[in-house]
Symmetry: C2
Subunit: 333 residues, 2 copies
């Protein structure tokens, strides 16, 4: 312990964070009080903030690379769902106790991987000590052509409802992170790794940004569970909607798990941390949306439709019966 | 307890935060995943982030109105020092345990007062539960005409060094918040209230934004102590500098305290939380800078000058002797 040099705030900035800002023209090597963002002509700035806290959003024993990667991913996911291309982010880091060089180096590596994957760089931030839990608070900014941000509130009766990727993997991945014996015996080691990775390393669909912007009437990212988030989208749009549960896309690993534990269906469609994009597309635009997604390499599934508000929000099984979902989404309080 | 209704995340947003976003065109009543910022033509966006944590940046028993006001003030202070006019902010709030309606209402009131004072409104944010300490993480964005942001790094040998307002009040205010008996007997109740207020309710100099932008070669806000922050400005500008300690402006209350406890001088110029603006202005621009500040109602004092890097950074007393300041600024780690 005694030969570990003390790490100060200036060291943290210089050693770990300045390299992440090296390609941000307006970050000034993190040696100023603020960063500068110059939106290209004709672009609006879309801004979102998400904080993740140890013991709430990630397990305390998690790899710092995964934690840092996820902190940026959950913010970028919001930008993608709005049709905005990620540009920069600010990170406010609250560290419990003395900074740990190995933790900081791993966090830097995770952010570096995430930046590269998502095409954005560090603009600024703050580092403080906390007597409480480790927390990473990120604000991300992206660009969208003027007036083209995609809202939650644009869904119209008659729209088709689509979701990208697969749903529920992160719920199962979290079970496996908590206990490696959680899965039934028909899942392979590769299945385990896939599901854990879906929880630890969400991959926002950058390739969906343009199809969403060009064709969706409404969109949001699925972060608090498909069921609850769909209900929020319908509320914001003042419409009703039907999701056909048998059309919800599940991964092969999740499908194998469901074969043995069919009661998990509810958990998968009400659990959180999917970071997929939920969007509604008018009938007339749906063929072009599907074609653009295919060209962009984004898997999308039509899972339901938007109906008039009076018909409410419903989840149905293959026989057309309403599913009683109980609580519909993750709640902090 | 049993008749206290449970407050959920949606309630927090709707009851306490949506009113703060009512005048933000791009906040969409906080019912979307992200906010939209449309910079006026010819404007750059300046962004800064600061987090304040209970037990570190404010006393746990503090009034929520003061805490919330200060959380926004410390961010706006950075924007002012960069010559940027505050526009919007995002708030990520980490609440320990179940939300308390009275605390949230007070925090809303404090933010509302701060918004009005600083001319900015809420754009978005996040609310989460934490097993740790209450924390408010804010990212603020302001506008500055293209290419006109004022940097830390622009100071040149020969510049005059100015500071707004008075220095060291917050250090004394914190002493009084911790113990109302801390002050010597020659201070009045009004002095006590003034000093506590300077700690609890920093008032960024909005009126200094234009004089700073139009005349300063370099500027930063004084948040970690005048001595340390001046050293940072000199380092960023690759210059040396001299501060004449007897020219540093102190309030009447601080002057009375210093009369009885002259050894506090070091604490006042190395302590933090001043939220004044430190700027350097070339000889030729200094008369116009002083005149513009007077017209804008901003008190400024010339406290030193910038010298070549080889001469280093020095604090001198009235006799021209170097002061041994020990540690120069507030450090988290």
């Amino acid at each position: 312990m005694s030969d570990t040099p003390r790490i100060g705030e200036a060291d943290i900035i210089e050693r770990y964070f300045a390299p992440l800002a090296a390609d941000t023209p307006g970050a000034f090597n993190l040696s100023d009080d603020a960063g500068l963002l110059t939106p290209p002509d004709g672009m609006d700035v879309v801004m979102t903030a998400d904080v993740i806290v140890s013991g709430v959003h990630f397990l305390a024993e998690s790899d710092a690379r995964d934690v840092a990667f996820k902190a940026l991913a959950v913010n970028v996911s919001d930008l993608c769902a709005k049709g905005a291309k990620p540009a920069v982010y600010l990170l406010s880091l609250a560290l419990p106790g003395a900074p740990d060089a190995a933790w900081l180096e791993d966090a830097r590596a995770g952010l570096s991987e995430a930046q590269e994957a998502f095409g954005c760089t560090l603009l600024g931030g703050d580092t403080v000590r906390t007597p409480g839990s480790l927390a990473l608070s990120i604000t991300a900014a992206g660009f969208v052509p003027e007036g083209r941000m995609v809202h939650r509130s644009g869904a119209r009766a008659g729209d088709k409802v689509y979701v990208t990727g697969t749903i529920g993997d992160a719920v199962l991945g979290l079970k496996l992170c908590r206990s490696s014996n959680a899965a039934p015996g028909n899942l392979s080691e590769d299945d385990h790794a896939f599901l854990r990775n879906r929880f630890q390393r969400p991959r926002p669909h950058l390739n969906a940004i343009e199809p969403v912007r060009n064709h969706a009437n409404a969109a949001m990212d699925v972060s608090d569970g498909l069921a609850g988030d769909f209900a929020k989208l319908c509320t914001a749009s003042e419409v009703g909607g039907v999701i056909e549960a048998h059309k919800v896309p599940f991964s092969d690993a999740a499908t194998r798990w469901l074969e043995r534990e069919p009661d998990l269906l509810n958990a998968l469609i009400t659990g959180g941390d999917d970071y997929e994009i939920l969007q509604t597309v008018s009938e007339s635009a749906s063929a072009a949306f599907e074609a653009d997604c295919e060209r962009a390499g984004v898997a999308v599934s039509q899972i339901g439709c938007i109906v008039p508000a009076a018909e409410g929000v419903d989840f149905r099984d293959a026989a057309g019966q309403s599913l009683a979902l109980g609580t519909k989404s993750y709640a902090h309080f």
